[in-house]
Amino acid sequence: MMPSLLALMPMLVIGFGALALMLAEVVTEAKAGLSIGTAIVLLAAAAFAGAGWIAGPANLGDASVFAPWLVFDKFTLFFEMLLALGGALTALVAGGYLREHGLERGEFYAILSFATLGAIMLVAAGDVLMLFIGLETMSLGAYALAGFRRGNPKSIEGALKYFLLGSFAAALMLFGFALLYGATGHTDLVGIRDGLAVGDALRSPGVVVALVLILAGLVFKVSAVPFHMWTPDAYEGAPTPATAFMAASVKAGAFAMMLRILLTCFGDERSASWATGWPPVLALLAVLTMTVANLVAGRQESVKRMLAYSSVAHAGYLLVGVVATIRAPEQATSAVLFYLATYTVSTIGAFAALVLCGSRGAEVVSYEDLAGLGRRNPAVALPLAFFTLSLAGMPPMAGFFGKWFVFKAAMDAGLTGLTILAFVNSVIGAYYYLKVLVFLYMREPAVGAPIAKPMFSGEVATAIVVCAFFAILLGLTPGTVLDMALAVGKGG
């Protein structure tokens, strides 16, 4: 096969595009075009990934000369499209938000682009070295975005907690991989798998400790209970577009990493068995995550914090899907991928709608701020209601089908108890989502309370329209994306 850069195109487009935008920002000082420029660069990367998908990963030529440690399969291409789309939507939301709140600094878009690039490298990594560089590129970008409002104590505090716990988790994972290198002599994921398959390697204490450390690091990154403490703080303190990015793209990247590591290195019969491996641990964490997050989310007074706990709860549902991969690998993998697609558009849409509800000096934070907005500004209240319902999993929204396929995969894998718990949780979870609707449409602001003045921004409105388009598409005709996710599940 001819050496070719085609498979690398999405990454190259983002990398060079981000550099060009940085240069343009310095030379022209034109801030207004940056958000649209970033969105165009990221959408171009998504288009390249889409073209690669249509051509088939096998026909992209041999990229191993340039990038021997990257894996270019349908899994990578699917996440390239999803992450680039998430990054582009975030850039659009940021365009409106940063201008309105006087935070317009060019770094945001550069950091956003490189963090998206890091997430894509993380997804494509076939080697621990690449995986770690991707993870750090993504995480360092996310820390910086979370602390973007330097003068705001909440923003810095959230970013600091996020940074400390995130670095701790990365260190745990790295020590785990160092132990695996000691046990197998390999740092590439396939080599680790083959090394572990030899003899009694899986029973050695070093490998068991390694698996525990890697699992701990992974659940930190996907913010599962009890490793979720940083999530609400980081999400509440960060500027809203950065929150959307952390909730959607960073979470999708972390779950892709989890699937890649567990299915490649620990997919053998012993590690992936109910009696001796990781599934019971993840199942327990999934139950804890869903239950605790849903209970605590109901008590929040801040909508942003509620959405943060909601993202923790979604991590719980996704973990159910990850556990189901032990008995129904193809179906469960595709269900997790489809869920991540619905979750990405619903979450970014919800945060974008929340951005539109507030304006400079009067950012919408609490439920009270939303009171009566449905009557005063129906055009702003409708998208928020729409995406909240999608997150709640109300049929026929996208979120409903995401949950449906994950629960069905878990049922087919014989995890009846886990599925029932997940279903009960999703019903409890509907309560705090409906609270948003109650405040939007059935309450009036208290006398003398500050009244939220919605802003207008073409960029944010565009992002909402695109999110709504995909949310409706995934809800009414889930077939196309589901077929793509199934193709990923089948491999190739």
Partner: protein
């Protein structure tokens, strides 16, 4: 020659010391130091394991990249600590208490 196992044991001890330091210390700079000790334990383990398999330099390569990535991570961390200190005039994690449930 010192056997490889000794290096591994030292690295494990360092890793635990770093982890305990991170969890016990209340000063953010010292917590960051704990993380650095953990990461250096990782580097030591990688280089030591590499000596058991001298035919390739995978472990040493990885540790070089980790050193660079750690430097980047540290710079973000120190920037955040500095910003925190400017606002709060303290570097104790207990004073990061604005965001509560």
């Amino acid at each position: 020659m010192i056997p490889v196992e000794h290096y591994i044991a030292l690295s494990a001890v360092l890793f635990v010391i770093g982890a305990i330091g991170f969890l016990v210390r209340r000063n953010i700079v010292l917590m960051l130091l704990g993380i650095e000790i953990m990461l250096n334990a990782v580097n030591l383990a990688l280089v030591a394991f590499n000596r058991m398999r001298p035919e390739a330099h995978t472990g040493q390569m990885l540790s070089f990249f980790l050193i660079a990535a750690e430097a980047a991570e540290l710079s973000i961390g120190l920037a955040l600590i500095l910003a925190f200190y400017r606002l709060k005039k303290t570097v104790r994690i207990d004073d990061a208490n604005l965001l509560r449930h």
